[in-house]
């Protein structure tokens, strides 16, 4: 390192240093321009949600609200046709249940594929990853017909039953569990632990980071899901947040102050979660990309 630094310093007269400084400035300018373009839609949404019903209709629009007000949020919270708590509950129920199931099945099956030898293991692994790589648009129609047959349309369980196995999750867990030393398992076996106990007591406690990553990804995926919930749920009181947002928009399409406030209320929870788990989330997405 020292030699490189020395080499750099030697080859750099004052002029070069100035140019380098300007270059650095340019980098920051570009990054900040990009940053403001990324944040502008959020800002516009929040500002619009703070405008009064009369101000929002003005053409051309104002940028900063003249009299910022929270009235739109109160209107939404007090709308008897929009029991928001129930919709948060629906979304939370679907997302949390799916997270729990995915974490359980992925770690268990990952464990199986990582630490056990049995006939047909490779075939099973390949076949069943293949069935899960079929895009959802194809299985959507028969899936819907199955739910209709068994009476799970309009039930939140309809959003859960088909997502019990997750290919990425199994991959991730298998990878991770493979790196655990076999000695650990064998020692427990000698102490008389059953295989399930191995899973629960030995393996699962080691899986903190990948479980957290997978959990967050699964949570976000379900929380934001739109197409499948729209197909399965038609009853208003069973809907999840994204569908209720478009429904609310169709009812109040001419009052953007209200629809933007509703959007804020539905988008914000996940952004707050993200704020706290930012590192995990980004890492999870990166892993999901670099895997496969």
């Amino acid at each position: 390192m020292a030699t490189i630094a020395a080499a750099r310093a030697r080859s750099r007269p004052a002029f070069d240093r100035l140019r380098c400084g300007l270059g650095h400035l340019m980098v920051y300018v570009l990054l900040i321009v990009g940053l403001s373009m990324t944040l502008m839609p959020f800002l516009w949404m929040i500002l619009s949600s703070l405008k009064t019903a009369t101000e929002i209709l003005r053409v051309p629009p104002t940028f900063w609200p003249d009299n910022p007000t929270l009235a739109n949020y109160l209107t939404i919270l007090n709308d008897p046709k929009l029991p928001l708590l129930r919709f948060y509950g629906n979304s939370l129920f679907v997302a949390v249940t799916n997270v729990l199931i995915t974490l359980f099945t992925s770690s268990l099956i990952g464990f199986l594929f990582a630490k056990y030898q049995f006939h047909g293991k490779r075939v099973l692994f390949g076949w069943f990853l293949l069935t899960m790589m079929i895009p959802g648009q194809m299985t959507m129609i028969p899936g819907y017909l199955i739910l209709a047959k068994v009476g799970l349309l309009n039930s939140l369980w309809g959003l859960i039953v088909f997502s019990a196995l997750d290919a990425f999750g199994i991959f991730l867990m298998r990878q991770f569990i493979e790196s655990l030393p076999n000695e650990l398992l064998d020692a427990a076996r000698i102490d008389g632990a059953s295989e399930w106990q191995l899973y629960w007591r030995i393996v699962l406690p080691q899986l903190g980071p990948p479980l957290a990553t997978l959990g967050i990804l699964t949570f976000m995926h379900n929380w934001n899901a739109y197409l499948w919930p729209m197909v399965v749920i038609t009853k208003i009181e069973r809907r999840t947040l994204p569908i209720i947002l478009t429904w609310y928009n169709s009812q109040h399409s001419t009052q953007p102050n209200l629809t933007m406030a509703a959007t804020v209320m539905i988008v914000m929870p996940i952004l707050i979660v993200y704020f706290f788990f930012q590192r995990w989330v980004v890492r999870g997405f990166t892993m999901s990309g670099l895997k496969c």
Binding site: R86, A148, L156, T234, S250, T254
Partner: protein, 446 residues
């Protein structure tokens, strides 16, 4: 330590999940099986009956149904009726999947023209409730027509659906523009002249007020169909087995609509159409001066825009030529599911709601719809609260039934209107649009 943390987290999540599950499931199940108020004394005498009623989502209609349910419950102790509403598209989807599974509600709101499609899965009305003859005597021919399939009655209409000819007119704008009010239109050109004078644009040239907005799916489609008839053509072939949309009359009518946009400039079809600035809302936001829309939009508009300050009224347009012949499309009404455990009570409610003159009157007043019963239409109360219905009474006799299409919604909303819109927006020529309508509409017979 770490392991305990993960396990603890799992347990917490599980508890959370169960709690959320409870929170969402319990109220839902009580909503599905509502328990009638406990009255131990009468509980044994009259077995409690609970029925479900499904309707499409429209605030004014739903208010009407709520009132009917309250009135019915008052006179029928032990009966409970729950109203469940769905957006228009969702309602169709729900009906089509719930009915094969036998999970539909006891009483179903039906659009008259749909009834033929669903008849196999609906309960025919017992003669003891009402015979076909009695129904034909009670109702206007167009609305009851949709509910009679192969000589059997499948439900009763609650309104006369008339999408043709009615316009909302903004009096305040008329007076500001110095035009004669109330409008004295003799021909459709008079309407266009008013529309042109009422149109406003901002300094950037963007239309802010459309003078005459007829560009929504129902008005555009039904004025087109009526225009074809008034000009002496027809969109059905002689034996009604196929469509003829590519006729000289159709061309003349569509060209007229295109000219209204491109020559008269009464409307910007890009800024004012079914998806942006829908006329039923835009009128009550002061962005349309003459707004072509069925009477049903009035109650909805009043409901949604209580603060709209401009003065306005509802008028009927002159015909393109000769008599104001038009096509009518039945109307909303009530039918009963054959899977209902209490069909007798369900029919009683249908009759109570749709055939009792007082209740029908009340429903039409609340929902702002044209009565399906002539006696109700003639009521002074209607003339008083909904003067436009009195005006509609003059053209109602000219109404013809739309005709039994294989898929009415598909033809009107996904073939006719989109191509009319294309022609108005100038992305298709009149000839191309008509050719496409003709091809695609005839393909629905397959």
């Amino acid at each position: 330590m770490k392991g305990n943390l993960v396990q603890g987290l799992l347990v917490v999540l599980l508890v959370l999940g169960l709690a959320a599950c409870r929170g969402t499931q319990e109220p839902a199940s009580t909503a599905e099986n509502p328990q009638p108020a406990e009255t131990p004394a009468t509980a044994k005498a009259a077995e409690p009956v609970s029925l479900r009623l499904w309707t499409h989502q429209n605030n004014a209609f739903n208010a009407g149904y709520e009132a009917l349910i309250q009135a019915f419950k008052a006179t029928h102790p032990g009966v409970d009726i729950t109203l469940e509403t769905f957006d228009y598209d969702t309602y169709i989807q729900t009906l089509q999947t719930a009915m094969p599974a036998g999970e539909e509600a006891d009483i179903l709101q039906m659009f008259g023209t749909w009834t033929a499609e669903y008849a196999e899965r609906l309960a025919p009305m017992p003669d003891s409730v009402m015979t076909v003859e009695q129904a034909q005597q009670l109702y206007y021919a167009a609305p009851i027509g949709g509910y009679i399939i192969n000589g059997r009655l499948y439900g009763l209409p609650q309104e006369f659906n008339c999408e043709y000819g009615g316009v909302l007119v903004n009096k305040t704008m008329y007076e500001k523009a110095g035009l004669t009010y109330p409008p004295a239109w003799k021909t459709m050109d008079d309407v266009l002249a008013d529309g042109k004078a009422l149109t406003q644009r901002d300094e950037a040239g963007v239309m802010t007020v459309a003078g005459f907005d007829f560009n929504a799916s129902d008005p555009a489609s039904f004025s087109f169909l009526a225009g074809v008839l008034q000009l002496g053509g027809d969109y059905w072939n002689a034996d009604r087995t196929g469509f003829t949309f590519n006729t000289p009359q159709a061309k003349q009518m569509l060209q007229w609509m295109v000219d209204a946009v491109s020559k008269w400039g009464v409307l910007d079809p890009v800024l004012f159409n079914d998806t942006t600035n829908w006329v039923g809302s835009a009128f009550f936001e002061g962005r349309v001066a003459i707004g072509y829309i069925g009477t049903w939009a009035i109650a909805e508009g009043k409901n949604n825009y209580p603060d709209f300050a401009d003065e306005w009224d509802y008028f009927f347009l002159p015909s393109m030529r000769g008599d104001p012949v038009f096509v009518a499309d039945s109307g909303w009404g009530l039918t009963v599911s054959p899977n209902s455990k209490h069909q007798d009570v369900a029919w009683e409610f249908v009759k109570f709601a749709a055939a009792d003159v007082d209740n029908a009157l009340q429903f039409n007043l609340t929902s702002g719809t044209i009565p399906a019963i002539p006696e109700v239409a003639a009521s002074p109360k209607i003339a008083e609260t909904m003067p436009w219905v009195a005006k509609a009474l003059q053209i109602l006799p000219y109404g013809r039934y739309l005709g039994a299409m294989p898929d009415r919604d598909l033809v009107i909303y996904d073939i006719l209107y989109p191509h009319i819109l294309n022609a108005l927006q100038g992305v298709e020529t009149v000839d191309d649009a008509l050719q496409a309508i003709d091809d695609e509409a005839n393909a629905t017979f397959e």
